[in-house]
């Protein structure tokens, strides 16, 4: 305790002197010690002279030598000093050149479209197609081009939020590496040439006609199709061929969920989990908050149970989340209790919990069921806990079982993610189904009637297709939005050979990707923002997608291609035989299906226009069906027959878990620089994938961070840099898929290492359905002696061991809510006298409150901010020297033991201090306070001294070392927000609280002679937040949400003792734990 105090004294002597006035007697609560990396816990890390020196320099990584190197390579040998010499001479000329203004032109429309007013955005409702979740979006258009996507608040799936991938899709639209015109390839010599659509169509039509005449087999291989219209069109088109088949395949689809649902309940669905109804959630390796079946919907619902605002602290209620998982996922990081296990152990945990509940306690409807008892017999909690080495032993399993039982009907057992796709993946799901049925959750929190209808992916169908291709039984293959050559286990399926034996291969894609290299024709597809479409995310919801700009390139909708090709005289059926184009087809299909289903009273045109404006139609709501009329399905105990008997894993082997990042997912967005530079929520690494190891394993094998290690799995070998990750099981190594692409574009090519080749096929029983195995493979590691510096951001802006965050347990909060606001017991604001007179705010005073209890760390806000505020991408090398430009960042801290730490996320942005340290040091008044409480940065005044950056205790200011905007080439320049200045080299920037949005809101309020009302104005980060953790508003209005949150006992301000008086308040993270979060692990306080 005293030591920590002393340490603080070194970094903030001023603070300590002031704090000494606070009396020791009221210090009865010791906040947990938070740390960034495991090295901090070794001995007296912060007293180490080397560390102190490193921390005292301006940049964590010394940039000089490194940048000199870069400069020489980038600028053809001109180094810094020579550069200055040349600059001197050119100054004179430059100043003359400035004397004359450039002549600019104004080019008006020839005929101005009625709905466009230059300078005023138009909003169009559409549907995001970045994944199969089908979130509703509102597309902000300026002068006919989309510049930002926002979640559609009226869309039942995402309710206004949007994830990082959705936010980044607008950059994908303007990707300069998109395929710009059709390509014809000669597969014999590999040559390619750009061709026009007429030539392509004529050739394809002739070939398809011939195939149809010969009764040939045409296959369409696609990613998961969101909408029924496209699916129907494909079916109708294929009816012209006697051997037509449509195969959908997503490499990361959780196919085991519908498979197990089918075994357990008889219907092959993906149930809708009602996290909003669940007080207790047990996740068995499911990353439902990050990469689940519907992560935004899940986060929205789950976070509703994570709000303490407005609750009486003494009786505060909080949902509980318990996690057993291998890789540290976003969900695990948010768990109140997390247990690291090996891949495949999740099944044992599930069965042990069921054993305790059903066999030992004789509870639930299955207590007398012989089949269930027999299946559970071998999984006693004692045996499982001792094999897994669970902290707390079998008691931890028994505790979870009893807590689940207490929350019967209001708990959820959710299982499965990419990293649980082991050989026993289906069994895990069956075990979870058993638990949900035993706990009466089925039909209450697990809704099998409202299934996600999009889950049609089938690896079995793909492997059958591969066999047919190799046997020469496929005459034409059309690949649409699927990249099997990159993402399917090519070695196992022999896809490359298969492609060679198909006479006609057509790939429809936005990029000339890995699969396109094996095609005869590569046809550019529209980006989803250029195309019509629909989506059917669950049984109640139909969502429309509309074009928001004219196609940028010579691309064509995949669906339109079918309608063109049928004109060769193909005998297609149904609507496809008469539709004029894809838009016509879509409308007619809706007329026949959704319009009928809704039973709308008006004409179809009225219905269509209304739906187009709203973006979505809720069939149940339209019919007046309210609430959920779920009914529990009967669990078929026979499904437990496939669950293997208990057997221990080897205690010496290392097990691999492949996982997907929320940003890159399966690698389809690998050419999106925003997503590549987004620091991983947990590891904070950008631009690369890496091998995650626990600190214990790294110590045992003598690996350090950034060591390049060779990983051997069967006959496959990959080399990856090491990242030491606390909270992993010591027998686990994990790597993210989606990297190492070779044909996606300049950003994504050869970024990271492709680990899809490590995916295996399940060697199940004879005749069993083949499935993919992403986890559980045994691997060996070997040091190569090479070294690769990962672009890791976690230390860049570390706060020198100052206590800047707090978390307490629910029990503590109930007992004494005042403790929530104590980041450090010695440092109290009330004891600090102020040197400054207060600012006066007559009108608005803007402020923000961030709820750390519900923030999941998903990082969607970072990309939303990037899109809104023209934040550039700097590239891997610049991130390595701490020059990333994000205005908001998600800081991740650990507390507790290094083997299984608690995780806490803190979104950190400009605090808009009332007494801002940056303002007092700027020699040119480039950063000043405005009369609404904003700390404003004036770009045209800034001369780049960087004093403000040095004096900012929150480390949130970003300096433009280069003209980063120049990296945006060609069409990428269209992504800039015209309401925000694009910053040049040599100036400082930081969060503005989205001042352009504030101005817009005031403008709109003034139009109607009103003031900005609470909730009318949202910052970009707040708008996109799926957990509603960010609240922005007027602090001068005592009734505003932000004022109320600021006054709550949960609220604290970071480094309050510095008397900076931030406008941002944080709501302390409260964990639903009974005992002290940091007891037992004495590591808390610096020794």
């Amino acid at each position: 305790m005293d030591n920590q105090h002393e340490e603080l004294g070194k970094t903030a002597p001023h603070a300590t002197q002031l704090a000494n006035t606070s009396s020791q007697s009221d210090v009865d609560f010791v906040p947990p010690r938070h740390w960034i990396g495991p090295e901090e816990l070794q001995g007296s890390y912060w007293k180490d002279p080397q560390v102190q020196e490193k921390r005292s320099q301006e940049f964590y990584e010394k940039p000089v030598e490194f940048i000199d190197q870069l400069d020489r390579s980038a600028q053809g040998g001109v180094a810094r000093r020579d550069f200055l010499t040349i600059m001197g001479a050119s100054m004179a000329m430059a100043s003359f050149a400035c004397a004359r203004r450039p002549v600019h032109k104004i080019i008006p429309y020839v005929v101005k479209p009625e709905e466009i007013t230059p300078g005023v955005p138009n909003w169009y409702a559409s549907t995001c197609q970045e994944c199969a979740q089908a979130c509703g979006v509102l597309v902000k258009n300026r002068e006919g081009r989309p510049i930002k996507l926002e979640g559609n608040p009226d869309h039942p799936v995402n309710r206004g939020s949007l994830c990082s991938r959705g936010q980044a899709s607008v950059l994908g639209l303007y990707d300069p590496d998109r395929l710009k015109s059709p390509v014809s390839r000669n597969r014999l010599d590999g040559t390619r040439k750009d061709v026009d659509w007429n030539a392509v169509d004529a050739s394809i039509q002739a070939q398809l006609k011939k195939i149809a005449g010969q009764g040939g087999r045409v296959k369409v291989l696609s990613g998961e199709i969101q909408g029924e219209s496209t699916r129907r069109l494909i079916k109708e088109f294929l009816s012209a061929f006697s051997g037509g088949e449509h195969i959908e395949f997503e490499p990361l689809a959780l196919e085991e969920i519908p498979a197990a649902q089918s075994l357990s309940y008889g219907n092959s669905v993906v149930p809708r989990y009602r996290f909003d109804e669940a007080q207790y959630v047990l996740s068995l390796g499911s990353d439902f908050l990050g990469n689940g079946t519907s992560p935004l919907e899940a986060t929205k619902m789950w976070s509703e149970r994570r709000k303490l605002a407005g609750q009486n602290p003494a009786q505060a209620q909080l949902g509980k989340l318990v996690c057993f998982e291998s890789m540290m996922t976003l969900t695990g990081a948010n768990a109140d209790q997390r247990y690291p296990v090996r891949p495949g152990d999740e099944l044992k945990v599930a069965m042990a919990i069921a054993h305790d509940l059903i066999v030992k306690q004789k509870r639930s409807r299955f207590a007398q069921d012989a089949t269930v008892l027999a299946a559970l017999q071998s999984y006693s909690p004692e045996v499982v806990a001792s094999e897994l080495g669970l902290s707390g032993g079998a008691e931890s399993i028994r505790k979870v079982a009893s807590e689940l039982w207490e929350n019967q009907g209001k708990s959820i057992v959710v299982a499965g993610s990419v990293q649980t796709k082991t050989a026993v993946g289906v069994s895990l799901q069956v075990a979870a189904n058993l638990l949900n049925s035993a706990l009466e959750n089925e039909g209450k929190t697990v809704d099998g009637s409202m299934n996600y209808s999009y889950q049609r992916s089938s690896f079995a169908a793909l492997s059958r297709l591969a066999e047919e291709m190799k046997a020469g039984k496929v005459d034409a293959l059309i690949v649409y939005r699927s990249n099997p050559v990159y993402a399917a286990p090519k070695g196992l399926l022999g896809l490359t050979d298969g492609f060679k034996r198909v006479p006609l291969v057509i790939v429809v894609s936005e990029h000339e990707d890995e699969t396109a290299a094996l095609a005869d024709y590569v046809l550019p597809d529209h980006h989803f923002l250029e195309n019509w479409g629909d989506a059917h995310p669950n049984q109640a919801i139909y969502s429309l997608q509309q074009p928001t700009l004219a196609p940028i390139h010579s691309s064509r909708a995949f669906q339109d291609s079918f309608l063109v090709w049928r004109k060769a005289g193909l005998a297609v059926s149904g609507l496809a035989s008469k539709a004029l184009d894809w838009h016509d087809y879509l409308q007619n299909n809706w007329k026949e299906t959704v319009y009928q289903q809704v039973g709308a009273s008006g004409s179809f045109d009225q219905f269509w226009n209304g739906t187009l404006r709203a973006g979505v139609v809720d069939v149940f709501a339209a019919k007046g069906i309210s609430g959920n009329k779920m009914s529990p399905r009967a669990f078929r105990t026979a499904s437990l027959g496939g669950v293997p008997k208990y057997s221990a894993l080897s205690a010496d082997s290392l097990y691999l878990a492949l996982y997907a990042k929320t940003s890159l997912y399966d690698g389809r967005n690998a050419n999106n620089a925003w997503l590549q530079e987004l620091p991983d929520s947990i590891s904070s690494v950008t631009w690369d994938n890496y091998l995650n190891l626990s600190p214990a394993l790294a110590k045992k094998l003598d690996f350090n961070d950034d060591d390049v290690v060779e990983m051997i799995s069967d006959d496959r070998t990959v080399q990856l840099p090491v990242h030491i990750q606390p909270g992993l099981h010591p027998q686990l190594v994990s790597v993210a898929v989606g990297y190492g692409r070779t044909a996606v574009g300049r950003v994504g090519d050869h970024t990271g290492v492709d680990v899809f080749p490590l995916v295996q096929m399940a060697s199940g029983a004879k005749g069993a359905v083949p499935s993919l195995v992403f986890a559980g493979q045994k691997v060996n590691l070997r040091k190569t002696g090479k070294f690769y510096k990962l672009a890791l951001t976690q230390w860049h802006t570390a706060t020198e061991n100052r206590p800047i965050i707090n978390d307490i347990t629910l029990a503590e909060y109930r007992k004494n809510p005042a403790h929530a606001a104590h980041t450090d017991p010695h440092l109290r604001l009330e004891t600090v006298p102020s040197m400054w007179s207060k600012h006066e705010y007559k009108g608005y005073r803007w402020g923000m409150a961030i709820d750390l209890t519900s923030c999941t760390g998903c990082s969607a806000c970072m990309i939303a901010c990037q899109a809104e505020n023209n934040i550039p991408v700097v590239g891997r090398d610049q991130v390595r020297v701490s020059r990333q430009m994000h205005w908001i960042k998600i800081d991740r801290y650990y507390s507790g033991s290094v083997d299984n730490p608690n995780v806490i996320f803190q979104p950190m942005l400009c605090q808009h201090c009332e007494n801002a340290p940056c303002e007092t040091v700027c020699p040119v008044l480039a950063t000043v306070h405005d009369d609404e409480g904003l700390n404003v940065q004036v770009y045209n005044r800034c001369v780049g001294t960087r004093y403000c950056q040095n004096n900012c205790p929150y480390k949130v200011r970003r300096f433009n070392f280069f003209d980063h905007w120049k990296a945006y080439e060609g069409t990428a320049n269209l992504v800039w927000n015209p309401d925000v200045t694009v910053r040049t080299r040599g100036i400082m920037e930081k969060c503005t609280f989205c001042v352009q949005r504030i101005r817009d809101a005031k403008d709109q309020a003034k139009d109607v002679g009103d003031r900005v009302k609470d909730g009318m104005l949202k910052t970009a980060c707040q708008q996109t937040c799926p957990a509603d953790a960010i609240v922005f508003g007027n602090l001068n209005d005592p009734e505003s949400r932000v004022s109320k949150m600021k006054e709550s006992p949960q609220a604290f301000r970071v480094l309050e003792v510095l008397n900076t008086l931030p406008a941002v308040s944080y709501m302390t993270k409260v964990r639903n734990q009974a005992e002290s979060a940091h007891s037992g692990h004495g590591s808390g306080h610096a020794e």
């Binding site: 200055l84 010499t85 001197g88 001479a89 050119s90 100054m91 004179a92 100043s95 003359f96 400035c98 004397a99 203004r101 002549v103 600019h104 032109k105 104004i106 080019i107 008006p108 429309y109 020839v110 005929v111 101005k112 007013t117 230059p118 300078g119 005023v120 000043v928 405005d930 009369d931 609404e932 904003l934 404003v936 004036v938 770009y939 045209n940 309401d979 925000v980 200045t981 694009v982 503005t992 001042v995 352009q996 101005r999 403008d1003 003034k1006 139009d1007």
Partner: protein, 196 residues
């Protein structure tokens, strides 16, 4: 190749800095502000505001129809010209030039007269709503044969009005009826009022 010694290099740097200093000084002497005041470029079509807005008394907002809706007042699109000129003065070669451009779908490329730097976000809409007449900033356009930038359009000039020194009396009367000889700002003067 001529070898340059360290001293020569230093001298060179000093000399270039000196030259640069005087050059900047000279430029500022000749052009005391960054203003483009008096700028009146020749336009691709010699459109006369005097004829349209002066003699024929066409309202400003008829053509610059977004001045009360948007940041930008906007130059009218060709179809607005042709509202009248399908029948009016169709024998003029300039009108024929417009008709030809319309038929071909090629917009006229006007030369921009009033221009603020990219980091200044001036909004027409709020100024029109406040009752600031167009002439306050654009001068008596109704008397101009060729449009000229009358006001300096510098930041200092904007600030004089926002601080109440040069505020049009009718605007002052509307928002600050009791204020005589205004001492303080009458409109926002924060940096981020205009700079994002």
């Amino acid at each position: 190749m001529v070898r340059i010694s360290g001293t020569q290099k230093k001298l060179g740097v000093a000399l270039s800095l000196l030259v640069g200093f005087f050059a900047i000084g000279g430029v500022l002497w000749v052009f005391p502000t960054a203003s483009n005041q008096g700028y009146a470029p020749e336009q691709p079509i010699p459109f006369s505001h005097k004829l349209h807005a002066g003699d024929n008394k066409i309202q400003c907002l008829y053509c610059h129809s977004n001045a009360d809706k948007s940041r930008h007042a906007t130059i009218p699109s060709l179809n607005v010209c042709l509202n009248c000129h399908t029948v009016v003065k169709t024998d003029s070669p300039y009108i024929q030039q417009i008709q030809k451009a319309f038929a071909e779908g090629k917009p006229i490329e006007w030369i921009r007269v009033h221009e603020l730097p990219d980091h200044a976000y001036f909004t027409h809409k709020r100024h029109v709503a406040a009752g600031v007449s167009c002439e306050v900033c654009h001068g008596e356009v109704a008397k101009m044969e060729r449009v000229e930038q009358k006001a300096p359009l510098t930041m200092g000039w904007c600030m004089e009005c926002h601080r109440g020194q040069t505020t049009p009396p009718e605007v002052l009367a509307k928002y600050h009826p009791n204020m005589k000889n205004p001492k303080g700002p009458v409109a926002p003067v924060n940096c981020n009022t205009c700079h994002n």
